[in-house]
């Protein structure tokens, strides 16, 4: 999977968990919790969705690696390779 594809998958799952967020408005370095008001329940739903979609089980200890779109894209790419 190319980095750009991973980024789009992440954005798609993010906006599915939080339908009121517009993918076009999400900056690469926006903090999901601080800037986009994703709460712990949304975040867990996102991690669950990524597990189902990509087969990547993100442990709690790595949650900080999903804090922004930029960080998450990098982390997921590393896990996929």
């Amino acid at each position: 999977m190319k980095p750009e594809e991973i980024r789009l998958v992440f954005l798609e799952e993010l906006t599915r968990v939080a339908p009121d967020i517009d993918a076009a408005d999400v900056g690469a370095d926006d903090d999901l919790m601080e800037d986009l008001e994703i709460d712990s329940m949304d975040f867990l739903n996102l991690v669950t969705a990524l597990h189902k979609r990509l087969g990547i089980d993100v442990p709690e200890a790595d949650y900080h690696s999903l804090a922004t779109v930029a960080l998450a894209s990098k982390y997921l790419a590393a896990r996929l390779s």
Binding site: I21, L44, L50
Partner: protein
């Protein structure tokens, strides 16, 4: 034969707009069936019926905004001595007023907005006192906001009660330009919800003599237990600290019945079951607190599943009417980040609400030594008409005990 009428879905509801019928004449209904969807200030709510029978006639049309108590359908009972329709069809007091038959065709935009913000019903009017006429909660809020003296107004509601539009009319000297409402998801209007919250919370602060107790305690045991437990689980089976909080409160509520129940016109009624309301913040703004029924009987995994389900439906606007009315105590949690302490306002007719601040790492003394520990501050807001600080302190102690032994939750 009986009349199925628009239910009140909480202290802040005056009316609802019928948007969907899920039954038709001739259909058989039984207790707990969802029969209609109604849009309220808190979003779309699925309305359940609490009787058995056959739908004889639908009394309300889609799109109608109807006050609490207005007839929605006629239900033919099952054999047993049916209540004469006349008696049932005429609820007591102000609720007997029927809904307007026809929507007024040519309303000005100003009135339109006023209506969508706070529908008016005869339910829940403050009573006339000391020369101040009866008025609806929404009218009182707006009057206070705009500095209008209610005593100087003549109401257009039942028995001269002052409605929101009366206050609007009084203050709308020059018709202001009304911006068209922003696009929003169906059944949710952030501004309407703000008005509803303001009305319910104003009523709470006016009627309920609140007292508050806070306790900060070591949460590290629960944090560590949760991390260990989740490490061995796939994401869809993981737990959140919020589930531990809800479970701990539900357990503690069993031990202190003065905090678990509802207070109505005839006083306090303790509840046998613990129906724990969970305050869910909506990203568009606003808050909704549907209840998990019999939360004291659920284990931790079941509690978590119930919360996932509740949050998802709260956000998509698919809560059920009983979830809005059955709550006996409520939990409001800050989440993982935010303020250390949350002192909440009781949601009537309940008599207690528990606020959890965000857990934070703090220097703490454990066995006589300083240690870095995650601590949480829990604040109980409770109703002095029913309990006092000593009972409240027992409740907080019970929460702490439950969270010190998470494996037993």
């Amino acid at each position: 034969m009986s009349v199925f009428s628009m239910p009140s879905l909480g202290a802040d509801m005056e009316a609802g707009k019928l948007v969907e019928w899920l039954v038709a004449p001739g259909d058989r209904v039984s207790r707990g069936d969802v029969v209609a969807v109604v849009e309220t200030q808190k979003g779309a709510i699925e309305i359940e019926i609490f009787e058995e029978g056959i739908v004889e006639r639908l009394e309300a049309d889609l799109g109608e905004t109807l006050p609490v108590g207005a007839p929605l359908a006629t239900i033919k009972g099952q054999g047993s001595g049916a209540v004469p329709p006349e008696e049932k069809a005429q609820p007591e007091g102000p609720k007997a007023v029927t809904a307007p038959d026809v929507p007024e065709p040519a309303e000005t935009p100003v009135q339109e907005v006023a209506k969508s913000r706070a529908p008016e019903t005869p339910a829940d009017f403050g009573t006339a006192r000391g020369g101040v006429p009866a008025s609806s909660p929404a009218a009182r809020v707006l009057a206070a906001e705009r500095g209008v003296d209610l005593a100087g107004l003549s109401g257009s509601g039942p028995m001269g009660a002052i409605l929101l539009r009366d206050v609007e009319d009084q203050t709308a000297v020059a018709p202001r330009a009304v911006p068209s409402p922003p696009a929003q998801k169906r059944g949710f209007d952030a501004q309407a919800m703000r008005v509803a919250i303001a009305a319910a919370m104003s009523r709470s602060k006016k009627e309920i003599p609140h007292y508050y107790l806070s306790q900060t305690f070591d949460l590290q045991t629960a944090v560590d237990w949760l991390a260990r437990t989740n490490a061995g689980r796939a994401p869809d089976a993981r737990l959140l600290m919020g589930a531990l909080f809800v479970k701990a409160c539900s357990t503690a509520a069993v031990a202190v019945p003065e905090l678990n129940g509802q207070y109505d016109g005839s006083g306090y009624h303790r509840s046998e079951s613990v129906n724990t309301g969970v305050a869910v913040a909506l990203r568009g703004g606003g808050l909704i607190a549907p209840a998990i029924r019999r939360a004291d009987e659920l284990n931790l995994d079941e509690t978590m599943a119930a919360m996932r389900d509740l949050v998802a439906r709260a956000r998509s606007g698919r809560l059920r009417s009983s979830e809005m009315t059955d709550g006996t105590i409520t939990v409001s949690a800050m989440g993982e980040t935010g303020a250390d302490q949350l002192t909440a306002v009781i949601y009537p007719p309940q008599v207690a609400i528990v606020g959890f601040g965000a857990p934070v790492l703090r220097p703490w003394i454990v066995d006589g030594e300083f240690a870095a520990r995650t601590v949480v501050t829990v604040t109980l807001s409770a109703d002095h008409r029913v309990s006092d600080g000593r009972r409240g302190a027992r409740f907080l102690a019970a929460i702490e005990r439950a969270l010190q032994n998470p494996e037993e939750l």
